[in-house]
Symmetry: D2
Subunit: 391 residues, 4 copies
């Protein structure tokens, strides 16, 4: 398939390049290219995207930033031991893992790091630009797949608009995700925020994003509970059923479990989950969302939702869903999809936020429907639009 896919090498610069999602994306891309696995979970490998001129999977070149030291081949072995990657896969794609690992640079700020925001951004920008030049890439897409950061104080303080300052003041003011996002734009790279962290959503970056002429998309990949909510919410609305309460509990271990056990980090994520309900139901139902860190579950996530709704004449009914999935395996193909789509959009000259990619996000760019069916229609329409000549 993808007969018209371009074979020009395309860069993928992963923020959090040694994490589970990144490792799974690199190993999985190699496995599909080698014909070891079918492209299950890759939306861009379905017929609707065949003529969109997306970069071939075999053309993707990986690198990135991380603050961890563990080499990718070792990380992949660790994931295989947990059942996240198929046994034997790390060995089968060892060469590709080693190659990607050689392109990973130390991120920041590290503990005790005294560099200013500007110094960090400059360092990151240079490293991304070096990657493009050294590997002879026409373009690279920068994707944030790092652990979720605590929500910034300004966001926690509520809707009051923080002061629209720019350029960033001296010293260290921006969260790390925004430092990387700035570097991506300075290096001329399309940017994807696959996490709920701030990234480009910082007011200090608004002007830079606007004048960059680069396409970008975000935020927070929609891989489980919110994916379900984006199809179940519209169902209740279309059937005129009255959802009274929608409660949810997420159990997960791994790095994400620990990060989201921090209430501040969870707050950002839960805001996205709630928004889907408000947008599709027309009102926010009762109910809370819990994210529990359960190390014993590793990368396997269980999400239970309980929906109490009223039907005809006020009859009380319920729906419960239990989703059991491997977070990295759900996220990695979406990351590859987004890289391909945003790379092609860039080649096509498209700029700014791309609500056409709302299909992939909990908290999509403004202008998108919250219903998955609408998002899918917008996505396939976008693929059709990309079929024209690029550049």
């Amino acid at each position: 398939m993808s007969t018209t896919a371009t074979e020009d090498p395309t860069g993928v610069w992963l923020i959090g390049a040694r994490g589970s999602v990144a490792t799974t994306a690199v190993a999985g891309c190699a496995a599909m290219t080698a014909g070891l696995h079918p492209p299950t979970g890759m939306v861009t490998e379905t017929p609707a995207f065949a003529g969109a001129g997306l970069p071939a999977l075999s053309s993707l070149v990986f690198g990135g930033h991380d603050t961890m030291e563990c080499p990718l081949p070792k990380r992949a072995e660790h994931l295989a031991a947990q059942g996240v990657l198929p046994h034997g896969l790390p060995a089968a794609v060892r060469a590709e893992l080693v190659a990607a690992d050689a392109e990973i640079r130390t991120g920041g700020p590290l503990p005790g790091d005294t560099r200013t925001d500007e110094e960090l951004i400059s360092a990151f920008t240079s490293e991304i630009s070096d990657f493009l030049r050294r590997r002879g890439l026409a373009r690279a897409v920068v994707v944030n797949v790092a652990s979720t950061e605590p929500a910034p104080p300004s966001a926690a303080a509520g809707p009051a608009a923080p002061p629209p300052f720019e350029p960033p003041p001296p010293g260290r003011l921006l969260p790390a995700s925004s430092l990387y996002a700035t570097a991506a734009l300075r290096a001329g790279c399309p940017y994807v925020n696959f996490t709920p962290s701030t990234g480009l959503h910082h007011p200090a970056l608004a002007a830079l994003a606007a004048r960059s002429g680069l396409p970008h998309a975000g935020r927070d990949g929609k891989t489980g509970q919110t994916l379900l909510r984006s199809v179940l919410g519209p169902m209740f609305a279309q059937r005129a059923l009255d959802v009274r309460a929608w409660s949810g509990t997420n159990l997960l271990g791994g790095g994400d479990g620990a990060a989201l056990a921090d209430p501040d980090a969870a707050a950002a994520k839960n805001a996205g989950k709630e928004r889907v309900l408000a947008d599709t139901l027309g009102a926010v139902p009762q109910g809370e969302v819990h994210i529990d860190d359960v190390p014993a579950l590793g990368d396997w996530k269980t999400a239970w939702d309980h929906i109490a709704f009223d039907g005809f004449l006020g009859t009380r009914m319920t729906l419960q869903t239990t989703w059991q999935g491997c977070d990295s395996a759900l996220a990695a193909p979406l990351v590859l999809d987004l890289v391909r789509l945003l790379s092609r959009a860039h080649a096509h000259g498209l700029t700014g936020p791309r609500p056409e990619l709302a299909f992939y996000f909990k908290d999509p760019d403004p202008g998108a429907s919250a219903a998955l069916a609408d998002q899918y229609a917008a996505l396939t329409a976008f693929a059709a639009r990309l079929q024209g000549r690029g550049e």
Copy 2:
């Protein structure tokens, strides 16, 4: 809302007029008209249908056939005791229940009944025509909400086409649902088959349906498990996830539980459930569907679905859903919706099967998508089309 709704009286002729669904529809229509309950579950009371010229709920006049004797007010009391209708409602709408009960005629064939098909059809046709004349109705919609019949032998024998004979031969050859459907058409009434029974889907009725010039819709109302499947199936397909097995168990008591414990009756219902998966997933996954008669549950249905799917690199994941609802409360508003829509379609001069109403059915008329979002789009487009002048 529905400011442009027509107040001309419109007939609703229910086959199975003393069953749970019919009783709930009659009582509920009266309750909404009296302002006792909001129109929860009524899709045609949402803004998208406001200008479609549908008959007002207060304009509906009920009657029907049944082989049971229990008067509607008593039946309603029984349902209230089970928690299917709100306590106090049977008393509050007693007048309307008595009025509808006065328009119920004895159906057939009863045990030991020696009438031929033709004699039965004639009797039913006369009774429907009398209802129209006596109540001064411009039109009535006939709706089959009777207990599911065993699938006819011809259907069980497989896809081999039965001989296209017509008119119906002497003696008794047609299932009861087809006798009523024939009577509906002869009396000039639009027809809805809300059950998996044969109804108009009998080859002997094809020519009559075609030349009747009447709109009709079916079959088998989509109220729970299949409703969920029609949104979850597309979700898996759009995300390129590989559904390996989709298993389901339905527990229900009430008349429907007993009827569907008959494997032949269940076969028709399950065929509809499986079709949704085949159509939305592109292949039939492994897995069975069970319908268990559990009298202790009464009219409350629990449907458990277990979906085993493969994600990226073959990672095995699952989704489970548990739907707990009251069957009659789920079905009744859809019956009222369909009456209003088909009545308006008739006034508009539309004829033949209406795949635009696939939103309501497990096994819709040919030409419809199996995805709920597509079906909802088709339904609202249909509502927009009905806004033009009728007649």
Copy 3:
């Protein structure tokens, strides 16, 4: 059954006498006495208790304290409207509800109440003693079924023992539940704490309890999730399966939902739930317990538990349970059971904490097993012991 039950009138003094549990207990006792309902859920009506000389249900006389004003007959109507009591029951047992309501006194401290602990205790003691005298009761059992209080600071501060002071100092130092417990003992009444509130577990009450010569039991009735845990925990332990994580979410509305949404109140309850696991599994597994206030659910509680365990060779497996019950209907028969058992124990001359009643509690008195089967064996042995002559 209970042919040997004593017909001497026995008092039941309910703290929180107008709450859901108390109202259900009063109405239910009357309904069983009148033969309107079988004694489902009443353990003391099973054959194992037939010869234990327990007071007959028809001999129970109800009264109590509450700070709410709503009369019991009205409260019962409200519960029937929510489906907690059967429709028609409030009318059928109206006389008994009115009689109990006449014996309810205003509790305290009310907002703005300036009475000292001692003044409150004296008032409560007088009201209980008056009840005994006025109704000619040989004895009354005082049962705390009031809303859960926040945990006292001393408990929150950890295991450090608070100073063993006695008598209670002037002013207001004791939580309300301990004021009532003190009054019970002063009035010579056996005492049951069916809630996680402090009650008799306050260090200031230890000496009084010891010298009172009265039997007492507590605390926190075991009605759902913890009941399940007390049979599932032993199962895993007996099978030598390694429970890694046990996570739980409780959704409930009603007064208890609101009270337990207070983290301090929930802390006391969750401590009991966790203790069951620690005691039966031999270690505290990973996992959290959430109690969410979901007003839309009213008195109906849904508890979801997710248990991740390792089997042979470390194979990872899971068990999930979903318990959907009506909290008051689960609690009320246990309250009646406890009254009968503690009344008989008192007649028998038994004193002090009764770990034989651990079957009923999340957090039983010291010396009891945490496994339900052991607790049931202890309970029936206790019943056998009560068969001898009393007093």
Copy 4:
């Protein structure tokens, strides 16, 4: 632990020696002996069994019959690829798998096999006796872990007692499981039937079993849904809750899924499941049990139970359980437990059916309680009894 365990070699002769359960038992025993895994799931490795003089795991010597050809090391690799065995384990215990494989003999009757029952029994007996002699074993326990056979016609015909004939007539009359059971007794070996197949439960074997002087136990290992039922049934009974309906669905692939998709084979298994409810609840509730063959699930089983029960005043409540486990990993440690216990019982001179082992079975020998807690008490009492001198 097990400091007093005997190190004399003890034989384990597995009927179905190349199946999943047998392979897991052999590999797991070697893994524990080598210290690669803790004895999770091994009840006989808990302190209660420390002094019972059971044969050490390191003393077990494996052999058996099977009609399949696939060597054990290859079978183990296959199980590891499915995630049933840990990756790396087949390589780590390859020597032990090869050794066991060398002791596997071809079972029967094979398709087209013309041997009479007597000829088959003689062949099997010789092979078991050879194993004992060749390996210098004081004793061997024969365990049936083969695929479930269809229920024999006599059992399907109902409780009418079949004619008590003996010895088995010429020709082929006995089911294969009974041929093996006869051979076990003739070879002087204690016998365990871990499946619902007939085994020793054939009337033709009654006299032989009685005069053999050998201990035996059965039948049908209790590994999931029935295990849960044996703790939940007593809970409902002890709380005097009225279970109205208990419905269950089992989804599983693997050989057992296919075997049990045969309604005759499933009938035997379901009879055991139902008996647990009848025995613990005192009545058979409504509800069915389904066993679906879902090949996509492999050896992983999902069992969903839905329990509808009435509480106080007839309030309707429900409990649902979802058990997700690996069938072989649940069964294998129980097989090793049974071998150790029955070997020691044999050394102790105990004979006949051992209801003390009911803890392990769906359908235990007469005289045992159906409640797991009682069964565990009986088991540990049995262990204490075994502490005396053997032989």
